[in-house]
Amino acid sequence: MNIEPTEAQWLHDQAEISIEELAELSGLPPEMLLELVDYGALTPVNAQLPADTRSAPWSFTADCIVAVRTAGRLREDFDLDANALSVALALVERIHGLEAQLQELQTQFPRLRGKR
């Protein structure tokens, strides 16, 4: 059987995402996403606009999808409110940063040494 392959898309290539779409993707209610923006856990592309601007609502880059899906999971599984969620998200992000740094350092550490 020959199946036509599906093209995998880059998340970065997606157009900017509205708060409603983020809500849909994460299962978080839009009000909670607004709170997360308030606490600095999420940064809209056009962050300088006030939240209640109707004419040009906030939009987000597709990279946010990963963070909000994590947020969605954490809220669902741990019953967290927006305040606790934003703390958790900040910590998760820091851990990811540290893990990336650690990995980078490990790649530079020669493997030969241990092999004698």
Binding site: T6, A8, Q9, D77, F78, A100, Q106, Q108, P110, L112
Partner: protein
């Protein structure tokens, strides 16, 4: 269908209060949640715990579960004859599903389903899958065979498992941890709702030669003491084939020699670099002749690599 003892999974008695169930769940969630726990088996454990909690926290589902009767965990069983009428709306085929699917399909189980009535369009679920691929495949781009088994809801409370088999084309330029989206490859939408998406997380497999960070590759480059001291031209394997690299005279262990643009390709344009990390290696069992030559060098050389150490009684 295989029986699972949800009470046992959560470590609570069968007459535990909802509060106790919640407490037990939270304790286990802290221990096993994949976003929190470092336990590599945590995810599996957490899934079992979450599945048990999803059912037991909801009084209606808990009653339905209790009415399945008691069985040994793992034992094949069928719900009592009138169970389907009593708790679902019939339409179950109990053979090709597991307990989680069954309770997922019961009232309110799918939070966005809005009950079982409606003609409201319901978008399909999103799935997340980790795709391990080799560094060579990331370099060239590849096609991945995905073979999943997913629950399919018919919108009337019925559910069964369906295989989801397809190929995904992974473009070149991905690196470790990259997220890709396969539009429409998630769960089926209901009542004209759109299908969900499938999110792929790329996990690069470890490679015998290369280590990856971002789009850069690192490679250990073993050289002899004389190559390091005198300089040499050596062949270095790259993903695009061997490349001749000049090791400058006076190279030390740990020095990084850069092969520009020999790393992984980037998404839009350009490539990462390949870094060869020099490792000076001495022969493990030198011949007599080699030993004699090293001895001669030792006697002739005034070089002191430990000149910066404090002098004194160290001799």
């Amino acid at each position: 269908m295989k029986y699972k003892d949800y009470y046992e999974i959560l470590g609570v008695k069968r007459d535990a209060s909802t509060d106790d169930i919640k407490k037990a769940y939270r304790k286990l969630a802290h221990k096993y949640h994949p976003d929190v726990s470092k336990d590599p088996k945590g995810e599996e454990q957490f899934k079992a715990v979450a599945e048990a909690y999803q059912t037991l926290k909801d009084p209606e589902k808990r009653t339905a579960y209790d009415n399945l009767g008691r069985h040994q965990p793992g034992e094949e069983f069928r719900p009592p004859p009138d169970w389907g009428q009593q708790f679902g709306e019939g339409g179950f085929s109990f053979d090709d599903i597991d307990l989680a699917d069954l309770f997922g399909s019961l009232g309110g189980g799918r939070s966005r389903a809005g009950g079982r009535r409606g003609n409201i369009p319901i978008p399909g679920q999103d799935y997340e899958v980790t795709a391990p691929i080799s560094i060579e495949d990331a370099y060239r781009g590849t096609e991945l065979d995905l073979n999943l088994s997913v629950p399919e809801y018919d919108g009337k409370g019925g559910v069964h498992r369906v295989p989801l088999v397809f190929k995904a084309r992974i473009p070149k330029g991905v690196t470790d941890g990259e997220r890709l989206r396969l539009p429409g490859k998630g769960g089926k939408g209901l009542n004209g709702g759109p299908n969900g998406n499938l999110y792929l997380t790329i996990a690069l497999q470890t490679h015998p030669l290369y280590r990856v960070t971002g789009h850069d590759l690192y490679l250990d480059l073993p050289v002899t003491p004389w190559e390091a001291a005198l300089g040499a031209s050596v062949d270095v394997p790259t993903l695009g084939g061997p490349v001749r690299l000049k090791v400058p005279a006076g190279t030390n262990t740990g020095q990084k020699l850069r092969l520009a643009k020999r790393g992984l390709p980037k998404r839009r344009e350009g490539e990462g670099d390949l870094f060869a990390i020099v490792q000076i290696v001495v022969p493990a069992s030198p011949t007599e002749r080699e030993k004699a030559l090293f001895m001669e060098l030792a006697n002739a050389s005034k070089f002191n690599p430990r000149a910066s150490f404090p002098t004194g009684d160290g001799k």
